[in-house]
């Protein structure tokens, strides 16, 4: 098994299924990976494959209709799944791990000044003695993400989309966590603003050594931050490897097809697409979940392949690579 003392985050066989009228939705189904301090990991995959749910499962931000929630999550060597909710909230969420949720810029409270909202995690977790100190730290966080501190005193509607997105980023950074999840942090923004925000993230990674997990469906954007790349399909990870190998030669047939379907601006390449559609997470196929759409499928694929280390820190869930 993996060594839990080494590395920032170790996730083992994590499952999060939701209860629905039609039956359990296996949104995250047996995810295992580990991440060291420093390198940024990106999680890519099609809409509905479980990317946001994976972040929520690790951060224990669970909805009411949980059907099953099992597995182990080690953060800095501690199994945080075992902590009581109260201790998890006090010691882990926002303090050691934080999240910029999908579409977070639209969920700022419209009647609270932006500065107060960004400072809130510090007050809630008693990381600042008083509001004054908390606001001082919020000002620092604003400078870090490139927002003028004048905006501390403004309300969300007075900020553009790009500014609001930077503000929610500042909020995730303010308690100086070890790990920050970024769920589609730029997908609603224009290209130049996107690039400016990715520049900010690159700078923070380089200067503060903060570890990011970036969730996105956009492969080109993912390459702006990735040191490690994880591909998710049908609630499971199917490949995990260094970004260099991933962008040039992915191994899993799904990852290969996905890369081949990415349009390139400068390079002339024949584009491919994946026929069919992703599996339902209500009753996913029992064997490999990609088998139905896979060009290299063979008899073995009716059984579920293991997610296996194939060498060089590369993990693949495919019978072609065991």
């Amino acid at each position: 098994m993996t060594d839990q003392s080494n590395g920032l985050l170790n996730v083992e066989d994590l499952k999060l299924h939701f209860r629905t009228r039609k039956g359990p939705v296996q949104a995250v189904d047996g995810v295992t990976f580990s991440l060291e301090r420093g390198p940024a990991m990106v999680v890519v995959g099609e809409s509905g494959c479980g990317k946001s749910t994976l972040a929520r499962a690790i951060l224990r931000l669970l909805p009411r209709n949980v059907h099953a929630y099992t597995g182990r999550v080690f953060l800095n060597g501690t199994d945080v799944m075992k902590l009581g909710e109260e201790r998890f909230r006090k010691q882990v969420r926002w303090v050691q791990m934080s999240l910029v949720a999908q579409a977070a810029m639209n969920s700022l409270n419209p009647v609270v000044k932006v500065g107060d909202q960004v400072a809130e995690p510090l007050l809630v977790h008693r990381k600042a003695a008083n509001r004054r100190e908390a606001l001082g730290r919020a000002a620092e966080a604003f400078r870090m993400v490139g927002v003028s501190t004048d905006f501390l005193e403004r309300y969300p509607f007075e900020l553009s989309g790009g500014m609001r997105q930077r503000a929610v980023l500042a909020m995730a950074l303010i308690a100086n966590p070890d790990l920050v999840f970024l769920d589609e942090p730029t997908s609603a923004l224009d290209v130049l603003t996107q690039t400016n925000i990715m520049n900010v993230l690159k700078g923070i990674k380089r200067d503060l050594g903060m570890t990011f997990i970036l969730i996105t469906h956009d492969i080109a954007t993912s390459s702006e931050l990735a040191d490690r790349a994880a591909v998710m399909y049908g609630g499971q990870l199917v490949e995990l490897c260094d970004a260099g190998t991933f962008f040039s030669e992915p191994l899993h047939p799904y990852a290969r097809k996905l890369m081949a379907s990415v349009p390139t601006l400068r390079e002339d390449k024949a584009l491919d697409f994946i026929p069919g559609q992703p599996p339902s997470l209500l009753n996913p196929p029992t064997g490999c979940r990609f088998a139905e759409r896979c060009p290299s499928r063979f008899e073995k694929c009716t059984e579920e392949p293991p997610f296996q280390d194939v060498g060089d820190g590369r993990w693949v869930k495919c019978w072609l690579h065991v």
Partner: protein
């Protein structure tokens, strides 16, 4: 007749009036502000621009869904001006197909595929006996096959890619001469985007259609058309062949866009890109002169902030609205080299 323009647009403006308390005039959102271009028959052109630059407003104006404030439009020889608006509109509806941005919102949820495709035929008086034949043809055209599997389905029973193909089928059902496709693939997953774009491209070529493809995603452009217009703050600031635009962008805004967009490569993670800060301008009170001047690194005081640049043509067939290219000016790349 073959080289006659299918569509000709001149100095088109579409302004939305802003009203305070629903009553007092409070200015205009100048969403399309002086747009001119020609589209030849069988030509596909892409309009690329960022969110809020006015792309959808331009599309809706061309489709007669929003009235223009001023300017002229001629489609296949039919001039759509004030007096003939009514007649022109009916003509537009029958001859211009529209593929909307959001397939999920574009399809009526309680109508079957058959009704969705049958209704426009019904409205345009196609006899019942011919309707079924035509529905079958378009479904096969967009590869919803065998058509019998789809005809009785409702939109929610289709995947996103299939829904978007149905929207395309609906745009095609009356055999239009021109299709306006507003972000036809942006709501779809990467893995099916290409399939839909290629489908649209094939249909365009097979039926000699004119297509205006609107997108914010520059990286898909070259897979679809030979020619592209770059839209910034309600204006078309650059017009060029796609290859030329990608390898020799002239407008500083286009140059910034190209810098911003990278092809997937692990090296990207280690490069801080030089792009202008700031945000796209307000369309209610756009900057004076060139609308990009507050963000432009080549800003020339007393020039760029005074007059709106006209279209210059420093390279044959490549137009740009930027003062850097007026006669005698130093070309951009020499200056920065």
């Amino acid at each position: 007749m073959t080289d006659e323009a299918l569509l000709s647009v001149s100095e088109l403006r579409t302004w939305y009036e802003l009203r305070k308390w629903g009553f007092f005039h409070a200015g205009y959102v100048k969403a399309v502000d002086g747009v001119s271009f020609d589209l030849a028959r069988r030509e596909a052109v892409t309009i690329v621009g960022e969110s809020g630059s006015g792309k959808s407003t331009l599309a809706k104006t061309l489709l007669g869904l929003v009235p223009p404030t001023s300017g002229e439009m001629t489609i296949a020889g039919t001039k759509l001006d004030g007096e003939k608006k009514g007649k022109g509109l009916a003509w537009v509806r029958a001859n211009v197909g529209f593929v909307q941005q959001d397939p999920y919102g574009a399809l009526p949820p309680f109508m079957s595929v058959q009704r969705i495709l049958g209704e426009p035929l019904e409205i345009h008086g196609v006899p019942k006996t011919d309707q079924e034949q035509r529905i079958r043809e378009v479904l096969e055209e967009v590869r919803l096959i065998p058509y019998g599997d789809f005809i009785h389905k409702y939109p929610h029973m289709l995947s996103g890619g299939q829904q978007q193909r149905l929207v395309i089928a609906r745009a095609l059902v009356l055999e239009p001469k021109l299709i306006v496709a507003d972000e036809p693939v942006s709501m779809l997953d990467a893995s099916v985007r290409v399939e839909v774009l290629q489908l649209l491209r094939r249909i365009q070529e097979q039926h000699d259609l004119g297509v205006i493809y609107i997108t914010h995603d520059l990286s898909t452009v070259r897979y679809f058309s030979e020619f592209a217009f770059v839209m910034y703050a309600a204006k078309l600031v650059e017009k060029a062949e796609v290859k030329e635009l990608i390898h020799n962008p002239l407008h500083p805004y286009s140059q910034a866009l190209l810098t911003a967009i990278s092809d997937p490569d692990a090296a990207n993670a280690h490069i801080i890109k030089e792009v202008p800060g700031g945000e796209p301008p307000s369309l209610v009170r756009p900057p004076s002169g060139c609308r990009f001047h507050p963000r432009c690194k080549h800003f020339m005081e007393g020039v760029c902030d005074v007059d709106e640049p006209p279209a210059f043509q420093p390279v044959a067939g490549h137009e740009v609205e930027c003062w850097l290219y007026r006669e005698g000016e130093v070309p951009v790349d020499e200056e920065s080299a």
